[in-house]
């Protein structure tokens, strides 16, 4: 269980997050939505242990986060920069396995297994720069999954992909979540995406000093599908509520 307790974060003198409390039960896929610049990425970086919390605490299974937690993985938006272009796809994916003391052959086999799973069979020996954006982000997802994380953080992972690719990757993420039951915190500014992907949507108020404006369970039938789910009246109702909360955070308090 991931728990944020009256978390505050500053960037210089500017408050970014203010008194933010949030509990994410194991296995939940939580979407964090908010206008751009509201501190979503700062929140994620703090949970990842990349930024020390200014005030308040973060705990994972009652252990306070001080550095980068064990069994944590992060997928960044900018796949082009987050992958290492001088390594092959397979070596990129196998990189986190080095610390597990696996032999080279085992690391490669494990990387190939995960690459199969994200639909990149056959791309193992290519370099990231030779792949399309969607395929590169699949590599980044494979690298995140290869260590079997218990907490997966995703920072607008599909924000720079075209619509079709984004839908494919959303479904890939849902499939991964359904089988692994990993706790996922998924940051996005796309309202439709948050409702389609999430078990729960949290809307942050615009900064400075963002806090929770809306905390909404998403009770849509699973498995979801891009055409059917998005046409459901419940989906439309939920996206309307989230959309209102993003635009006029003051009036949408729950």
């Amino acid at each position: 269980m991931l728990r944020l307790d009256s978390l505050s974060q500053h960037y210089g003198d500017q408050p970014v997050l203010h008194d933010l409390s949030l509990t994410v039960p194991d296995g939940q896929l939580l979407c964090v939505v908010g206008p751009s610049g509201c501190g979503k990425s700062t929140l994620l970086r703090t949970v990842a242990g990349l930024l020390p919390a200014r005030e308040g605490t973060i705990t994972i299974d009652d252990t306070p986060v001080t550095g980068v937690p064990d069994r944590l993985a992060v997928v960044f938006q900018d796949y082009g920069r987050s992958l290492l272009p001088w390594l092959t796809v397979r070596d990129n994916v196998a990189l986190p396995l080095r610390r597990q003391g696996l032999r080279r052959a085992e690391r490669r086999a494990e990387a190939d297994r995960i690459l199969d799973r994200v639909g990149l069979t056959g791309a193992a020996r290519r370099h990231p720069g030779q792949l399309s954006g969607g395929m590169q982000q699949r590599v980044a997802i494979a690298r995140a999954l290869v260590c079997r994380p218990s907490l997966l953080l995703m920072d607008e992972p599909f924000g720079s992909l075209d619509a079709q690719t984004r839908e494919d990757l959303e479904d890939l993420l849902l499939e991964v979540h359904r089988t692994d039951r990993t706790t996922i915190v998924f940051v996005t500014h796309d309202i439709d995406e948050s409702v389609y992907v999430g078990d729960r949507v949290v809307v942050l108020t615009p900064g400075p000093g963002a806090k929770v404006a809306l905390d909404l369970p998403v009770e849509l039938p699973c498995p979801r599908d891009q055409i059917g789910t998005r046409g459901l009246p419940e989906f439309v109702a939920l996206r309307t509520r989230v959309g209102r909360a993003v635009r006029t955070p003051g009036r949408a308090q729950v």
Binding site: D78, L84, R98, R99, P128, G129
Partner: protein, 312 residues
């Protein structure tokens, strides 16, 4: 540069294929002609200069300015007419070229290893960078040959002094470029390394060195030419009994202008070859990421840009 591709392996299997092959052969011929023309154009200035030199020197007939053909002939007789078993090197070449190349290689490797090592350390610590930058800029600003008299006093004559001169001159470009390359490591990739919990060695090997590699090679190329200069310069001084620089002063003292010219041509050729070799190594090491392209998600890169803004 690169030879024209041949299509000898293509054999026509039917009439259509024969036509296609004919078309291909035509295209290949056109491409060969284009490539040959390009290669010729690139060398045109060199050929013209050599021709002008040859004609001018022969017309003038001065002993001080022998024509290039005579210089080449002399260099061949002097150094490259040896037995096959010695790679065609004459005893004079073994005595002249090899000691110089050995000192230069040792100096270059030492400067490269120490320079890259220190450069990474300085580049990864903002405080060390701030402290060292003025010193580095000062050291770089000194014309390297002016340090040689100091090393003559500090070190023994001969190889120790020569090595010290080469290393202390060649180290700065590598060090400064590596430091800047390491400092410009993409902060997002440093975050990735932190999240993947790479060890310090893994971080160095998989992230810092590869991302600084283009800058490291820019420094190495500068260092290489400095190594050549300092190698010759340090051999011009007393206390030297062999080497290319010694051959130069020796020939000069005997008023053997032909050998002086041959040494100059040799130095030019060596510099050109060594630089070509270094470029080939660089291409091999960085060629893998020639496909690297800028990602579309650019609005998250504000941190990089602000860093870049400060460094320029």
């Amino acid at each position: 540069m690169s030879g024209a591709p041949t299509h000898e392996s293509r054999r026509p299997t039917d009439h259509g294929a024969a036509a296609r092959t004919a078309h291909l052969v035509g295209e290949t011929a056109a491409r060969t002609a284009r490539l040959a023309r390009g290669a010729l154009l690139r060398r045109l200035v060199l050929v013209l200069a050599l021709t002008a030199w040859q004609l001018g020197a022969r017309a003038h007939g001065s002993v001080y300015f022998p024509p290039p053909a005579r210089i080449a002939r002399h260099a061949y007789d002097l150094w490259f007419s040896g037995p096959v078993g010695h790679a065609f090197l004459t005893p004079a070449a073994v005595d002249t070229i090899l000691p110089s190349l050995g000192r230069m290689a040792a100096g270059f490797v030492l400067a490269a290893v120490v320079g890259v090592g220190l450069g990474i350390l300085v580049g990864r610590s903002p405080r060390a960078y701030a402290l060292c930058d003025p010193v580095l800029q000062f050291a770089r600003a000194l014309p390297p040959p002016t340090l040689v008299p100091v090393f003559v006093v500090v070190f023994d004559f001969g190889t120790p002094m020569q090595l010290a001169s080469i290393v202390f001159s060649a180290i700065w470009p590598v060090l400064i470029n590596t430091a800047e390359g390491a400092r410009d490591t993409d902060p997002l990739r440093l975050d990735v390394a932190a999240v993947l919990r790479l060890t310090a060695v893994e971080r160095l090997w998989f992230l810092l060195l590869p991302s600084a590699l283009p800058r490291i090679f820019a420094g190495l190329r500068l260092s290489l030419s400095l190594c050549l200069i300092l190698m010759v310069f340090s051999e011009l001084l007393p206390g030297t009994a062999n080497g290319i620089g010694f051959a130069l002063t020796d020939a000069q003292s005997r008023s053997d202008l032909l050998t002086v010219w041959a040494v100059l041509v040799l130095l030019g050729a060596l510099g050109y070859l060594l630089n070509t070799g270094l470029l080939a190594i660089e291409k091999r090491l960085t060629g893998k990421r020639s496909h690297e392209r800028r990602s579309k998600g650019s609005h998250k890169s504000s941190r990089t840009e602000s860093r870049k803004g400060r460094s320029t």
